[in-house]
Symmetry: C2
Subunit: 355 residues, 2 copies
């Protein structure tokens, strides 16, 4: 029987969580939804439970090496792939799949993004098992999340005909819709949120990459035929030249036979501090705090404070307050999608030390 | 001619400026209205210009000795009186007046609170000169500020008959009024804000204290007849036993002949962060910052940040944000009078290290 592996993709560099996230410490390293695990730590923990800890690979940008090793001290260094450049998901998956295939030719692989939150892990386990079994039959499988609202921040997957119990052919992948379209997607009952998770056999994925993205396949081939000592140089030289393209767009949409497994496991992309507030445990007045906060007549606020700092919220409503050693952000929750504007303003005024 | 002296009263322990002010660093030590001087430093600078730097005495609580000496490095130690306990203004003025009288029997003294802001120093100079000349004739003089709004946070002084040009008999001292009363005071044109400044000859004040507060007079007498080396012990023992009473209530209201000099010199008690925002220089959107702030779509906000910290305000309106190393306060400007509630909550929950 083929071994199972997980590839945790932790290369994100989101800016919507400044100042908690920084260029050197993006979202996946933050404890956004839970008080004692970062999104990355939770993803790796789940992956380890699903495929065995020794079979979990983490792919991240090389500038996140220190943060990754700090958060995952037990991760074997041979299971940590460091990208010299951000090239979207297809090069990452091609490389990691080739590495896994060296260990087991017909390895069964789960690709899991490191920056989402999963509330119902039992339901998640059921969905993953279904997807793994479908993938073992030789098709590329994605997991789609049953939408609970007409979210315009996610891509969608259209379900087609049933292949087997709980497994459907993919009708189409669709980009982030406008609100009217999102509402019609939800009303139709046929559309799922694209979770960014993929399940496949190593040989099947590498063949599909070979058909659609030959440069990435060639890179993967070159890598495994290169002596281990010479690989770092090859990666440094060739990886940044690979096409920067997502696996969705570069492979999944191009292949004829793709399956989707619908799931309903409390998935959230945690796209902003507003989402973090939604997910967080709140007091009777709707206030959530990471760190020490004092709410006095405050309602529906989110506070994140560093160790040793007290944040007093007096009579505030619907505010987000994120404090760090050298930068503090205050905004209404409704502005949580606009944090990018602060990043832009800091760049524009040369205050890059706070980025 | 009698020498002139100034007694700067810096004993306050206000809590309305937490977390910028702390038990060990009350309001007078803060740069609330100006970017490079604390209220205390500005008061001492003005006092020095009025009476000569060597003739400025500062009275504060002994626990503020370090902060006072740090802010006033040129103050002679013989001009720094350290109260072992807070006993309101009458014991403080009695003690300081006795100390001044040792230097000049008929010294002319200005008592100036260290925690107010004066915008128009030229007009202040004119008012002080008028008050000093009136005091030199042998009466106790206060300065009243022409009210610009029906403020309920201040005491008022009713003006009576004119004594000389710009000098009036005091009709009555009145406590902080309710709004209706404050409005009628302002409408009458006869009431002034009680500035807490007093002007008198040393001998005149000590005689008045002797008539009304004999225990304080006895303490002052005992002090000047004690050898300098033994005075510290006397102060430590006797000062805390003195009646805790204001000079207004204990002396001024009881004396028959008190004068008031009306003045209009941009006086502000700086009673809250909202007042600090009012006084501060603001950008085109009404935002004021002490320290490094980035306002992005923010309006009418006040930010105070420590050195090296960046505060980003995204889309906020009418907020006060006061950051310090170990505590951060966020509130609507309209709640600035309620900071005490945070102090109370911290006390109630035993989090006294942030006080």
């Amino acid at each position: 029987m083929a071994q199972r592996f997980a590839i945790v993709m932790a290369g994100g560099s989101g800016t919507r969580f400044w100042p908690a996230s920084r260029a050197k410490r993006p979202k996946q390293f933050l404890q956004l939804a839970d008080s004692d695990e970062s999104l990355l730590q939770a993803t790796v923990r789940r992956a380890g439970a699903l495929v065995g800890k020794a079979n979990v690979l983490v792919v991240t940008n090389e500038r996140h090496e220190a943060a990754t090793r700090e958060q995952l001290p037990k991760l074997a260094l041979s299971n940590l792939l460091l990208e010299p450049d951000a090239r979207n998901t297809a090069p990452c998956i091609g490389w990691a799949t080739a590495v896994v295939q060296e260990r087991d030719r017909n390895a069964l692989i789960a690709v899991l993004p490191a920056d989402s939150h999963i509330a119902d892990e039992m339901a998640f386990g059921v969905t993953v098992e279904r997807a793994m079994i479908a993938a073992d039959s030789g098709i590329l499988v994605t997991v789609g999340v049953t939408p609970t609202r007409p979210e315009t921040g996610y891509g969608y997957v259209e379900t087609g005909a049933a292949i087997s119990d709980g497994v459907y052919r993919v009708g189409a992948f669709v980009e982030k819709p406008d609100l009217a379209r999102a509402e019609s997607y939800v009303a139709s009952g046929k559309y799922l949120w694209n979770s960014g998770m993929f399940f496949f056999r190593a040989d099947v994925m590498l063949a599909a990459i070979g058909r659609n993205l030959p440069a990435i396949r060639a890179f993967a081939n070159a890598l495994v035929t290169t002596a281990p000592k010479a690989r770092a140089a090859l990666i440094k030289e060739k990886f940044p030249e690979l096409p920067s393209i997502s696996i969705d767009y570069g492979v999944m949409e191009k292949e004829r036979e793709i399956a989707v497994v619908p799931g309903n496991f409390g998935w959230d992309d945690v796209g902003s501090f507003s989402a973090a507030w939604q997910l967080a445990e709140k007091d009777a007045d709707g206030n959530a705090a990471r760190g020490e906060a004092l709410f006095e007549g405050a309602r529906d606020c989110y506070v994140s404070a560093p160790e040793g700092k007290l944040v007093a919220m007096l009579g505030t409503t619907d505010l987000v307050v994120v404090d760090t050693a050298d930068a503090l952000l205050v905004m209404p929750r409704s502005r949580a999608q606009d944090v990018r504007k602060i990043i832009d303003a800091l760049n524009a005024t040369g205050r890059t030390r706070h980025l």
